[in-house]
Symmetry: D2
Subunit: 407 residues, 4 copies
Amino acid sequence: MSAPKKVVLAYSGGLDTSIILKWLQTEYGCKVVTFTADLGQGEELEPARRKAEMLGIKPENIFIEDLREEFVRDFVFPMFRANAVYEGLYLLGTSIARPLISKRLVEIAEATGADAVSHGATGKGNDQVRFELSAYALNPDIKVIAPWREWDLSSRTRLLEFAEAHQIPIAKDKRGEAPFSVDANLLHTSSEGKVLEDPAEMAPDYVYQRTDSPLTAPDEPEFIEIGFEKGDAVSINGTPMSPATLLTALNEYGRKHGVGRLDFVENRFVGMKSRGIYETPGGTILLEAHRGIEQITLDSGAGHLKDSLMPRYAELIYNGFWFSPEREMLQAAIDKSQEHVTGTVRVMLFKGSARTVGRWSDHSLYSEAHVTFEDDAGAYDQKDAAGFIQLNALRLKLLAARNRRVK
Amino acid sequence: MSAPKKVVLAYSGGLDTSIILKWLQTEYGCKVVTFTADLGQGEELEPARRKAEMLGIKPENIFIEDLREEFVRDFVFPMFRANAVYEGLYLLGTSIARPLISKRLVEIAEATGADAVSHGATGKGNDQVRFELSAYALNPDIKVIAPWREWDLSSRTRLLEFAEAHQIPIAKDKRGEAPFSVDANLLHTSSEGKVLEDPAEMAPDYVYQRTDSPLTAPDEPEFIEIGFEKGDAVSINGTPMSPATLLTALNEYGRKHGVGRLDFVENRFVGMKSRGIYETPGGTILLEAHRGIEQITLDSGAGHLKDSLMPRYAELIYNGFWFSPEREMLQAAIDKSQEHVTGTVRVMLFKGSARTVGRWSDHSLYSEAHVTFEDDAGAYDQKDAAGFIQLNALRLKLLAARNRRVK
Amino acid sequence: MSAPKKVVLAYSGGLDTSIILKWLQTEYGCKVVTFTADLGQGEELEPARRKAEMLGIKPENIFIEDLREEFVRDFVFPMFRANAVYEGLYLLGTSIARPLISKRLVEIAEATGADAVSHGATGKGNDQVRFELSAYALNPDIKVIAPWREWDLSSRTRLLEFAEAHQIPIAKDKRGEAPFSVDANLLHTSSEGKVLEDPAEMAPDYVYQRTDSPLTAPDEPEFIEIGFEKGDAVSINGTPMSPATLLTALNEYGRKHGVGRLDFVENRFVGMKSRGIYETPGGTILLEAHRGIEQITLDSGAGHLKDSLMPRYAELIYNGFWFSPEREMLQAAIDKSQEHVTGTVRVMLFKGSARTVGRWSDHSLYSEAHVTFEDDAGAYDQKDAAGFIQLNALRLKLLAARNRRVK
Amino acid sequence: MSAPKKVVLAYSGGLDTSIILKWLQTEYGCKVVTFTADLGQGEELEPARRKAEMLGIKPENIFIEDLREEFVRDFVFPMFRANAVYEGLYLLGTSIARPLISKRLVEIAEATGADAVSHGATGKGNDQVRFELSAYALNPDIKVIAPWREWDLSSRTRLLEFAEAHQIPIAKDKRGEAPFSVDANLLHTSSEGKVLEDPAEMAPDYVYQRTDSPLTAPDEPEFIEIGFEKGDAVSINGTPMSPATLLTALNEYGRKHGVGRLDFVENRFVGMKSRGIYETPGGTILLEAHRGIEQITLDSGAGHLKDSLMPRYAELIYNGFWFSPEREMLQAAIDKSQEHVTGTVRVMLFKGSARTVGRWSDHSLYSEAHVTFEDDAGAYDQKDAAGFIQLNALRLKLLAARNRRVK
């Protein structure tokens, strides 16, 4: 790979990406464009602008964007249509944010004539894969610079020395090492590393930053009603909301009731197991409610097909293949299933749990006439079941007879 | 089908199966053998013996058996190795009990020279299918009598008239109609029908019979440690237990902390949707813990394959195909994966939730050496990730280049 | 089910459906509308009109339609996009024709105010299921009359007596029984029953009606070039053709070279195995060519997903679930994959075989630059493979180390 | 990775692996152990021994083994139980040989105290991945040396210079470059590269080395009968044979009749497409026959599950994951299904084709009594089909009614 001339850097304004910024300049002698996005991580963006300016980036090369609506509408919601969970439990909060960042990195590179993009993910994690696969899928000629895989600043001490040598200001609380590492966006907060590295040890309470403890959550349950249209949440308690507004509101409900904590050991795409503490307050409520509305509006054939496709779909997102033809194929199938997933779900929030307690819809397939224990007025002929069973049993009978014969 | 001469009836001792007993005698003039099993439903069995005797069944034709250990060991535990849930949420508590009952019905039929078996399931539900597919799979020549699909006792009034006409005692509380219908065994209690038929309406609190309300559950969390060997739970807090004993103990923990309630609308195999309230206290804890121990002992390739097979496996059990070659094939694959699923999981129980908070094992695949944020002493070469990403990206790059070319 | 008042009958003009026509009139006293379609079965349609008129059907109740283009365009081609084969070998020639017939039956019923439709399929086969599931999926209120499941004309003798009693003309060659039963349309001809019922016995040569014997086919191979656009065949040897014209032409090539014969034992949806002789001359060439063009235009991620979905897709079509949400979901995924399946395939036809021998496309993903044994000018860095292998191996190494440790 | 001290080399005795042998000695100063296996590639092994001796390898470090029986019994046959084909057409002839070679390399390394193994596969292909994943899965501490990814002998000229400089004899026909590259074993011969690199161009006839041309094959068909037990072929025309003997005999039948040629473009695991010419004469007959015997002995539930698992199973083998838990899980499921796959298949061989024309078995599930067009004496009640269809249709009706209601 020839040296990059101009690099768009995913820049948070924090110490690490500031070091990367300077390192790119010194190591490659290249121009740097910074890109800072609001994906709902709960940090101010303007300090990143000032920091970039201070590091010598010209205003026209500083890109700061609020991507929250796009994030929820085009990434989070499509994923939730699938009820996607990775390895049974993880709601993919980090995974789903990476493709959007890469998409904007590539677009800004094309707009600014940059030939490379760069990110601050380490060489051990999944995020490097997600960033880079997305970038290459969108621009096959782009270069990707992953400083953590290249440089020799492998210890905290070396990093701080580099920062000091290049006059990068170091906040006091960054002098020492954080007891664990955090990633956050509108969907979730993840914590991993250091004090969390022993999966036998219970995570200390201070790790949780996004949710109140179920132990101290309100003693009374709270009920909310979430409205859906074609598989996407569109309202809470009857109030229509935009995607990001709605997820923000659900996050607040979830935070209050301690919903969405997960202590998890997962398999990284790069081959090792890692332990993370995930907090997905609004997303956990949303998944429960989406399942609730599908229960009455989705046909069993569609539902069972979705269930069987989901693990692969979740794995694709986890592994970084959002921009792949197979993810798009699965999305086409999933979206097709959601045409009538419209209605309202009542969810009870209480001390760490979100539970569906009622659901209704004009699009309901639930037929009280068929299922009732009372007289069904001929909606269903129980005698049909005899033939249904006989023909389902036929192959089993032939099999049993054969097995008896040739035992 | 020619008329049966001797029928083995799945007999609970209750009013409905007593009516069936008498109806079989009068309708077909056949001998009746009763089979009453303890699967942990929480009812005395001896009254069923007395009732059967009273209805004229000879002692040698009354079979009463405690099947709890066999139920958990050979049915519940194999199913939990798969983390089986139907339609995302249902732990299959009713489904998994049916094949065992059918197995014993068929075995007793063969032992007593009976040519038919009979059950009290209605023509609208899944249980008829499960009973009958299992019976036919085990004995292709057996006859199955399903009175609810045959007789004209379609109203409560007609049933009571029949009972009175045949001197079947009617308990006072059975005069009126129950507000909902219940099925129970060691794994779960399900409630459905009548007051539960509107899925928009929250289930009344009196429906729950097996779990205390999360709202009134203890204000302090309780921690338990569940030991696993080859995928099956074998101990609680270090005390080894037999399968049924262990599940019974977990049920008690779950009851106390309100764990395992589910308000669910599902797709029946016979084509309609129905709403049920399920309580699976011990099973819910067991599923959480099994996932917890798999997190550190199961390889990702095995785990992801399991996840992708699970929906089909669960569907097979739900639909009544326990005794089918495809369920056995899947079981062989699942069991193969469990050879090292051995270790201990710490679970926190609190107001309706069971959450893994720690797990450890001699068989652990978790490698702190690889995953650590600290210096890994060469366990992992971050530069490998570059090649890994490049080759995973190659097809995406070729695709992007093609799509740009022929757009 | 209340008696039908007006029935649309799938009417071939042959003896069996003429008997059904008359039986519907006499059994139910209902009006009959006849529907005769040209799906390429190779029979004149006008005799069916005359026959219907002779049996008293008014001209406005006689529907005769050429559906060949719709059949190939909207049913055969979408199915071939999936490379669908049932149980490894069967190209679904009969299965795919049934939904279209049902669709027109239901549409004609709605246009003529009929409340029922009727077909001539027996109670043992798959076709009854396919006809009826399609009809119910398109009109939930339609009645379906399946005379073969209802009447008592169960022997050839009884049928002929009924025909004579109702003055239905019987062609001389229909007096005796045919040595096997045939179904045909533009995609295939199937033969089954009678002389074919022993799967150990080789099918006699006179069974094959649609293809010349490979043994007597031309001694020289013939090469044809099939052009594709977005997954569908659009030209032969450079000549653009409509779907039905193209399939007709491929059938002629296949017939001449003995392509597409299959001696097959399959599992019917109704639970039994049956043996059929299938001839799918053009379809066999088309499948081979479609695979050929996908080889260079389809990405591996998309291709492997398609391969894994195909068995379920084929099973749905075989079982009669064309008009189901899950088939439509899968179709959405498959169609999504075909956007660049455009190019040309060269196929060699010779004595029973159709083999791809070349393929080219502007949309090709094949990169000689990458794959060449010669110097690749830096297109591919072989050192990347080391990292790729290391990270793919990591979990296997951790596994091997664990297994050595706790053996 | 520290330098290897003793390396077991997969050694063919040819020029390339002789150069590798010498390069390992000179580059690493390590001891070399040679391993030469007969997997049915059709070459003498003794010349390899002499060549190794001439290059200074001591007799006790030269391992020459006939692995043909183990290859077919433990690798080829288990794979054929699955009817495994990669991307619809490729019978995995190269893929399946690699794990066995790696297994012996690792075992010999452990026996001789070697710390590394080495192979002659290039950095662009799949074989490096297969060799190395297998080696690491069997010994997590083994080193793997892949000279083609390390050295700078990247042109034919450099290689020959190296050979001459180290007095490695060069056969005259190796001076020039081969027009394509060949791999062979008892299952197949593959050819790729050079003259075959344009997938639009028909492969020249001289590429085919293992099969006679269909065009010049015998003008008369030949019929053979293959006997199976539990899914494996055990006899031809009634003569019992060992696995390798049987495959050798099938290869001869296939060669004679031009069976098993494939012109194929495939997706390599490393991300690129490549074109190969494969000849699998005996394997093609075996696959056809195995499908034939499964048609009558395998239940539809088992068969359909197998079909749905096969693509993943084939992909695992292709990608080099033979020794992975997920391949073993799938194998457990597949093997479970083969318990009754016992019987005989009659196959017709003719000018490039192998077609099942008859099959019979004591384990047959085919029931003429059920399927017959004649009177079935009550084996099957056609009226059962009505109930079967009604309940299968119920969800489709509810769906159609809903869709009409809320359109």
